[in-house]
Subunit: 499 residues, 2 copies
């Protein structure tokens, strides 16, 4: 295959990404007619080799070019220069002008990975250990179907009508009941219904944090929390975690140097470690928040998905004005419902309501009615009692398989709850190369770098076990181990192409 | 009643609102023990009189004080200083510190009014002509209940699972079908599902507009559009509308002075006028967008709620890269479903998807499945055929009643579609005083000032007829006319108290 475009000499230290550099070389070649309309381009693998980048970067570059209208891709045939390149297309349909007008964009690495994790499960050949979804086979479908039919019958048109932006009163009352038992709220007035905990994190970030502020967050943490905090324009500082949760002494050292606005934690069954914040650290964190006037954002989405360890009251009980709590039903009865809530008080709560109205007016009423009746009927406790043993079995299977197949390569924390295992490599290896090779081998994971605000020192990754049965988990780990071995080989012989 | 707090000499030109000034005087008096715990405060009416403000301002001030924990209000008994004022409460529960930490807040007038409009329909004594909701009695409840039962049966757990953040494929395909017929999209790839058109407006505003940018918008327009555009920190310039929609010549004068990033319109059945953008203006607007590289944001939520007048293709057909379209099913089968969409192409579309993921991950899957099957079954067209004559009858009743009861006071535009009539007073009167008096008389409306980016020159208001039967509409207009007469009397004798 002849190459009409020079892909060597990419600048790895440049402000623009390798993907962007490749894209811009192709754009120039197509605009300048070095590549003619209809011409076939090298395969992603060949292009990656020529440019000296990994396979995923090549895939991204072609995808971007396709989005911009420069190339078309046909499965099984390859990638071709479009017959009508965008610069020649009519002004009415060309979208080139948009790039000049739109604000400058910074696509974060966590965000790319999040998009990736939505793409992976659709491919039947890839065992996705990247996706922290609960298993749809376990959902209480019949119970919810019956409740929904009752709602249509009882509420008629009201089932479809606008509701209070703060949330349906019955649902807030049910959540407050659990809030009193679990410690996240005392009254329905503290509850604001959101479209998933994801929206809760975003609303709290936007309500509290301004550009230039400093915020601290567990590192590693949920990609969505990172993404929302970074989108505010704040400086996001990672605080290391260990088996006892966030290292609060490390936080104190940050507090000594910065005026911190908000500290984001998951005090119980954290994502990705599955560990709890210890009693001593809980107390110290809350005292610091009160002494230094910062908000603690506690994400409790996995707090009820617990397999072992003592359940403590949620952090908010000890400092309800300083701790703002977000939670949802997404990790238990289904993320597609988008049924989440915030517990907050004071001016913050009022601002969250205003922001909620400005953002999407309110969360789907029908789903709120469903949630209210489901909780009131005590069905959620029944569901958890049935589902948790299944997830515990999968956790145990994954841990056993990791120990057996990768025990000499990695160490990992023992998760008390949640859907994930945080795995650290004893010796570092190239995270992106491992990701690309693992996908090639047929297994997906969440790269550690997507869960940390700063580029991490060692290599780590998150494996999620909730969606996958024990045997498939073992096969996934087998493929991962093969990918690790392949990357180690490549690293020992860096000049040999990946094939 | 003895007053221990001086409420005279409020500064009407100050940067802080009258409400805030009153609140801060009460705070000081309570913190300084000039008002003792448990002490009864003057009624809102007496307080309003003493401060020389309207009743609504007094209500707002007490509500704010209650939210902050300074006072408690008991229906039928009155408002009292709290026995444990917040400054004396434990540090763990006090929320005073939050105000110092949270970003500076600017509660916009449109936003206050929007919150107000959600409060009003709950009061059974007030006929709300403020609320542009469709009538729940008309919703196709049985059809949707049956579809939902089918979905649970057919999709089982998938009905509750996470879906593609861009939206469920079947729904996007159905919308693209309508897009080809109506002109807003050619392909499912252009459609991004949102939680109502409200979220569509917010995502587009955040994706396109940066602080300091200039945007133009029809004036008057939907409060939510104003609110989202103002929240970006942009300068929002209002362009007057008449019977032929936005005055594009006036827009051209603005374009000559400013680099405008986005122009927000409703090209068909606009809210609040119910009028269409004329052919000539449509063409000119699109040409300007292409020549000057700005986005046109076309909100089509009322475009299918048409009673008369020729239906034109949606604006986006003539310039798909420049026009971004938002729409929803909220104005027909129920706003509680939060089923909206954006049609966009190019880099803008890609950014909207990223922003959607960062905001709430995705719109409720269950509702998307419902929408897909409802549209595929052709039920929406059946529904519109049955519902439109009812709304048309209500429109006609309202217009007749306005002519009869307020014909000597107001002029109004004849709405071709939508749920609203835009009413202008021939001689100006105090909008806030009219709003307060109307609520006292038992009728709600949307004040014109809440729908215009700048304080309007004359007095105007929006009356919504969709939710109210013909007789109640007439009674609402009767009360409004009584309120107008009362305010005119007050204006002639301004020193006499309202009571």
């Amino acid at each position: 295959m002849s190459y009409k475009i020079a892909l060597d000499g990419l600048d790895r230290d440049a402000a623009t990404s390798l993907t962007e550099q490749i894209v811009s070389r192709f754009r120039r070649a197509i605009d300048g007619n070095d590549l003619a309309p209809g011409e076939k381009l090298p395969t992603t693998r060949a292009m990656a080799e020529q440019a000296g980048v990994n396979h995923l970067t090549a895939v991204r570059a072609y995808r971007r070019l396709a989005e911009e209208g420069y190339v078309t891709a046909t499965v099984g045939r390859g990638t071709f220069v479009r017959r009508v390149p965008p610069s020649a297309a009519a002004a009415a349909t060309g979208t080139d002008w948009q790039t000049a007008v739109l604000p400058e964009e910074r696509i974060s690495y966590p965000n790319e990975m999040l998009a990736e994790s939505f793409r992976l499960p659709a491919d039947p050949d890839v065992i996705s250990l990247a996706t922290g979804w609960p298993d749809p086979e376990l959902y209480p479908v019949d119970v919810l179907a019956e409740i929904t039919a009752d709602i249509f019958r009882d509420l008629r048109g009201e089932a479809l009508n606008y509701v209070d932006p703060v949330g349906v009163a019955d649902l807030r009352a049910e959540l407050a009941k659990r809030g009193r038992a679990e410690g996240f709220a005392e009254s329905p007035d503290e509850i604001v219904i959101t479209s998933g905990a994801r929206q809760g994190l975003d609303l709290v970030s936007r309500a509290v944090v301004s550009p230039g502020d400093v915020v601290a967050v567990e590192s590693p943490t949920f990609v969505g929390a990172l993404s929302s905090l970074q989108a505010t324009g704040a400086r996001v500082i990672g605080i290391p975690v260990d088996e006892d949760g966030m290292d609060v002494s490390a936080l104190e050292r940050v507090l000594a140097r910065h005026e911190v606005k908000l500290v984001a934690v998951q005090a119980a069954c954290a994502n990705p470690t599955g560990r709890d914040l210890s009693d001593e650290r809980r107390e110290r964190l809350v005292t610091l928040a009160q002494e230094r006037s910062f908000f603690v954002l506690d994400d409790g989405v996995y707090a009820t998905v617990r397999y072992e360890g003592a359940e403590r009251p949620r952090l908010r009980r000890s400092a309800p004005s300083h701790v703002v709590y977000v939670d949802s039903l997404s990790k238990t009865i289904g993320g597609g419902l988008r049924l989440g809530w915030i517990a907050a008080s004071g001016p913050l709560r009022r601002r969250l309501v205003t922001l909620k109205i400005d953002t999407d007016m309110q969360t789907t009423g029908l789903v709120q009615h469903i949630g209210a009746r489901y909780l009131a009927a005590g069905e959620h406790e029944k569901f958890l009692a049935a589902a948790l043993p299944v997830y515990r079995e999968r956790r145990d299977a994954l841990l056993e398989s990791l120990e057996r197949r990768l025990g000499d390569e990695v160490s990992f924390m023992h998760p008390l709850g949640g859907h994930h295992v945080w795995v650290r490599f004893d010796a570092p290896l190239d995270e992106r190369a491992l990701f690309a090779e693992a996908v090639r081998q047929g297994v997906g994971f969440t790269p550690g770098g997507a869960m940390t605000p700063e580029r991490p020192e060692g290599t780590a990754l998150r494996l999620s076990f909730a969606l996958v049965g024990p045997e498939e988990l073992d096969e996934g780990v087998r493929r991962l181990a093969a990918a690790v071995r392949a990357v180690r080989r490549m690293e020992r012989a860096p000049m040999v192409a990946m094939s």
